[in-house]
């Protein structure tokens, strides 16, 4: 997989062949000896709009907003970005893909990446 990836080249092909613009969400990473937790802020994205993928140590998070475009709705003031989200993170520690979990709550996706056994620090006792 190509290491360099701009949102436009990573974007899934839009039906009409037009490349979609995407925005990088805010995220935080916490970790301990057991696992990493990545929290991605994606307000406006329902559970059905989240796509997660881990391939070749690259974690890809896509979030598709619930489009609230309704007829007869006139925008008076716009500050929120209507763009969908894309975040790609290169992991430099082997994680246990099978035990990876994700939970979406209040517009924040919490991804838990348990470290692979061999990647955990080991204590070696000296005899």
């Amino acid at each position: 997989m190509n290491a360099t990836c701009t949102p436009s080249t990573c974007a899934p092909a839009a039906p009409s062949g037009v490349t979609e613009s995407l925005r990088k969400p805010l995220y935080h990473v916490n970790g301990n000896a057991e696992a990493y937790e990545v929290r991605v802020e994606m307000p406006g994205v329902p559970k059905s709009g989240v796509k997660l993928d881990l391939e070749d140590n690259i974690l890809t998070v896509r979030g598709e907003r619930n489009s609230n475009a309704r007829e007869g709705l006139k925008a008076l003031h716009r500050e929120l970005s209507p763009l969908n989200y894309l975040l790609r993170l290169r992991l430099n520690t082997p994680v246990d893909e099978e035990k990876m979990t994700a939970k979406l709550e209040d517009g924040v996706l919490a991804i838990t990446l348990p470290l692979r056994q061999t990647a955990k620090p080991r204590q070696i006792t000296v005899n």
Partner: protein
């Protein structure tokens, strides 16, 4: 204020110039520059102001505030003298410690809103406020006879 007779000698001019440079604020940006710079350093996402969209249809105004990670019980909505203020407390866990910060935003309620009928809903990190228009303020079409 005291009026002093100045002696326009070359030496005096040089020392005045020197004194100006030694002034503790010499070379400092003006207050105006300082604040505009602050604005650049702290863009919308990190400031304490909630981002908002306002839409209108024939029945109501709709305000959407981005509040990712904020729980329902940590949102406060107040209406005071035609000013609607949303305050959201965002709690974040960093390992064992927990931090929180408060975000808020006020919008003025447009004329002709039925204040009693304002509703709010929190969904996927977005707070949706519906401000229904009062019946007699809705646009009407008048039939020609």
């Amino acid at each position: 204020m005291k009026l002093l007779r100045t002696h326009p000698s070359a030496f005096a001019r040089v020392s005045e110039f020197d004194a100006w440079f030694r002034h503790p604020l010499a070379g400092m940006p003006t207050l105006g520059q300082f604040f505009s710079h602050l604005g650049e350093v702290l863009p919308g996402a990190t400031s304490d102001k909630l981002a908002v969209d306002v839409h209108e249809d024939k029945d109501a105004y709709h305000a959407h505030f981005e509040v990712p990670g904020v729980k329902k019980e940590d949102v406060k909505i107040e209406l005071n003298n035609g000013l609607l203020t949303v305050t959201a407390e965002k709690r974040q866990k960093n390992g064992e410690s927990e931090s929180s910060h408060t975000l808020s935003r006020s919008i003025s309620v447009p004329d002709g809103v039925n204040v009693e009928a304002i509703t709010a809903k929190l969904e996927d990190g977005i707070l949706n406020l519906t401000l229904p228009k009062a019946e007699n303020k809705k646009p009407r079409s008048i039939e020609l006879n």
